[in-house]
């Protein structure tokens, strides 16, 4: 492998990684605060991608602007999801929780299949084929925009979590539900917001990704699995861990794609997950020194 090919793989791995981080951060936020894993996370991304595609195809809205339309919808969907399914699910055993979100994942996939058919759809604009040279390597415009937006959003979320009272409340609840409740924090309200933001971040990712990757009703599953990998590799509930995990997964995948076949490369993130779970099950950058499940 020549140095240029390696650099190219590294760059596309990093941009993919930034997008993955944007997808996984919502999952880790919800897990950190509520201790619930949402198996339908990727399906909400799928809906956001369709939202971006439809806004472009029918209203002629640029995907970057469509973000402003899709985010409120996803935020509302997240709050609705919490009120309708997750709140009651938190009272039943873990296995029933899994069944609920797995059921939702199937439901959304097949509703989308009935509504949008199984066609692969992609936003194609003038800038879709544009690209910029960074030294010897090439960066495609839609990827650059998505990765840039991911970086901005992650930074914003990080500042919110670290610097505001709202972030303090979120962190308090994820450290100890009882302690937070005793300090006068409204736990139910915090859950609702965590779920709203956790799903709402997908509203940023969706429209931008619809110009990077074909959207079809089953695309979500792939990203749910990848988000799991990232979140566990990085450390469940950990913010920095998501970024590290996402970049690692993105780069590993893209370098493996150069070295081997596509199918083997697709297995690389899972191999990475297994490795991390066995050697460091709390993740690479765990919250508070690593709490095991």
């Amino acid at each position: 492998m020549s140095a240029t090919i390696f650099l190219q793989a590294l760059l596309s791995g990093l941009t993919n990684g930034a997008i993955y981080a944007l997808i996984a951060v919502g999952l880790t936020l919800v897990f950190g605060v509520m201790r619930v894993v949402n198996f339908a996370h990727g399906e909400f991304l799928m809906l956001a991608m369709y939202g971006g595609y439809l806004a472009w195809a029918h209203l002629g809205v640029d995907p970057v602007i469509a973000v402003a339309l899709v985010v409120p919808v996803l935020l509302a969907l997240g709050v609705g999801l919490f009120e309708s399914l997750i709140r009651p699910a938190m009272k039943v055993p873990e296995i029933n929780q899994m069944a609920v979100t797995l059921g939702l994942s199937l439901l959304l996939q097949y509703l989308a299949l009935m509504a949008f058919k199984a066609d692969n759809l992609l936003i194609v604009q003038d800038r879709s084929t544009a690209s910029v040279w960074i030294g010897p390597v090439l960066l495609q415009m839609p990827h650059a925009i998505a990765a840039g937006a991911a970086a901005v959003l992650l930074l914003g979320l990080y500042l919110i979590m670290r610097k505001t009272d709202f972030g303090l409340i979120m962190r308090a609840v994820s450290q100890s539900h009882d302690g937070a409740a005793l300090s006068g924090i409204d736990i139910g309200r915090t859950y609702r917001w965590a779920m709203g933001i956790g799903v709402g971040t997908l509203g940023v990712a969706g429209p931008l990704m619809a110009s990077v990757l074909y959207v079809n009703p089953h695309i979500g599953t792939l990203f749910t699995l990848k988000a799991f990998v990232i979140v566990i590799v990085g450390g469940m509930g950990s913010f920095g861990g998501v970024l590290l995990g996402a970049l690692l997964v993105g780069v590993a995948e893209s370098v493996a794609g150069v070295l081997t076949t596509a199918s083997v490369a697709a297995a690389v993130p899972f191999a990475l997950l297994i490795l991390v779970m066995l050697v460091r099950p709390e993740g690479l950058l765990p919250v508070g020194g690593g709490a095991r499940a």
Binding site: V37, L85, P88, A89, V92, P93, E94, I95, N96, Q97, M98, A99, V100, L102, G103, L104, L106, L107, Q109, Y110, L111, L113, M114, T221, L225, F228, V229, I232, M236, T261, S263, V264, A266, A267, F270, A271, L273, I274, M277, L278, P281, R292, A293
Partner: protein, 331 residues
């Protein structure tokens, strides 16, 4: 004999259904599929419902069973007499290794579920890329001259008979463990692993036992699948969908009961068939109905239909009644 009643009654019911389906190849097909999936779900539930270990990677063991039989046949001309035990042994070894790795760090709940899912995904993707396993196109097993030795029959009913035997054996094995010391240990681990360990339950050994027993039974199911359809491919034998189905059947039928998952499969698979044929114009209507049912059941009826049924049944022995209530309260 009496302690095997919870295994023998469902097995007898299944045998009666087999008799009813004998005349019609279409019904026999549905019976075979239902009995196979129900039996594997019972095996899965030995881990989930009895030991509290939720695996989302059981398709790995089903796939091991199916691919050992298929590759043994295509590559070496081996018959089921040799490949079925080989499949079971390989599944046991793989379960042992994965179990040792996962339990060493006490992976539980969501983490164990996702770790097992990762193992099965790796297997799915690697098999899809392996030329001598037919990649994602799968492998067709050729028809042999001495067909019966390869379990190749023209009729459907011999397969029905085999799956009936498999179902009965699985229920008996399950009931044997559930009503012995191992079963008590499993439930103790499920309800409070720390307390069980403190009381001297060899947690590691009994979790591994549950994993290996469950994996072996699942692999036999996969072996049966390969022998029946003479065809294996990654999507139908190693895919995540298969693992999720096992969870669905168990939730609907009832996790706390040996025969619960069987009940779930017996309701959902024929129902899915009916919906699929009745609504053939709309792809996916059956899955929409199925997933809504799953969500509602998981929230409203955590013990499943089997649990509901069981509380309605007359319970002659006082001891058993309090035992069930306690189990109820613990979950």
């Amino acid at each position: 004999m009496k302690r095997f009643l919870p295994a023998l009654v469902p097995a007898a019911l299944a045998a009666a259904l087999f008799g009813i389906c004998l005349g019609d190849p279409y019904f026999m097909d549905i019976f075979i599929l239902t009995a196979l999936m129900g039996t594997i779900a019972v095996a899965w539930n030995l881990m989930a419902g009895f030991t509290g270990l939720i695996s989302l990677g059981h398709s790995l063991f089903f796939g091991i069973g199916a691919y050992v039989v298929a590759y043994g046949h295509v590559g070496f001309g081996l018959g089921p007499l040799l490949t079925w035990p080989l499949a079971a042994a390989l599944a046991a070894a793989v379960a042992l290794v994965i179990g040792l790795l996962c339990f060493r760090y006490g992976l539980r709940g969501y983490f164990f579920a996702i770790a097992t899912l990762a193992f099965s995904e790796v297997a799915f993707l690697l098999v899809s890329a392996t030329p001598w396993l037919g990649r994602s196109d799968g492998m067709m097993m050729p028809t042999e001259d001495d067909a019966a030795r390869y379990l190749q029959f023209m009729e459907k009913w011999p397969y029905g008979l085999i799956v009936l035997a498999f179902l009965t054996a699985t229920l008996l094995v399950g009931q044997h463990f559930a009503s012995s010391r191992a079963g008590s240990y499993w439930r103790a681990i499920r309800d409070n692993e720390g307390a069980a360990e403190a009381l001297g339950v060899p947690v590691m050994r009994y979790k591994l036992l549950a994993f290996v027993v469950s994996a072996v039974l699942t692999a036999v199911g996969g072996a049966f699948f390969a022998s029946t359809f003479s065809f294996v491919d990654p999507r139908s034998t190693l895919g995540v969908d298969l693992s999720i189905q096992l969870l669905v059947f168990s939730i609907i039928g009832g996790l706390g009961l040996l025969w619960g998952p069987l009940l779930g499969a017996a309701l959902l698979i024929p129902l899915g068939e009916v919906l699929r044929t009745a609504m053939s114009g709309f792809t996916g209507v059956n899955i929409v109905a199925y997933s809504v049912l799953l969500m509602v059941m998981a929230l409203m009826l955590p013990h499943g239909l089997g649990g509901l049924l069981k509380t309605r049944l007359p319970r002659p022995r006082l001891g058993a009644r309090t035992a069930f209530r306690q189990e109820d309260a613990a979950r």
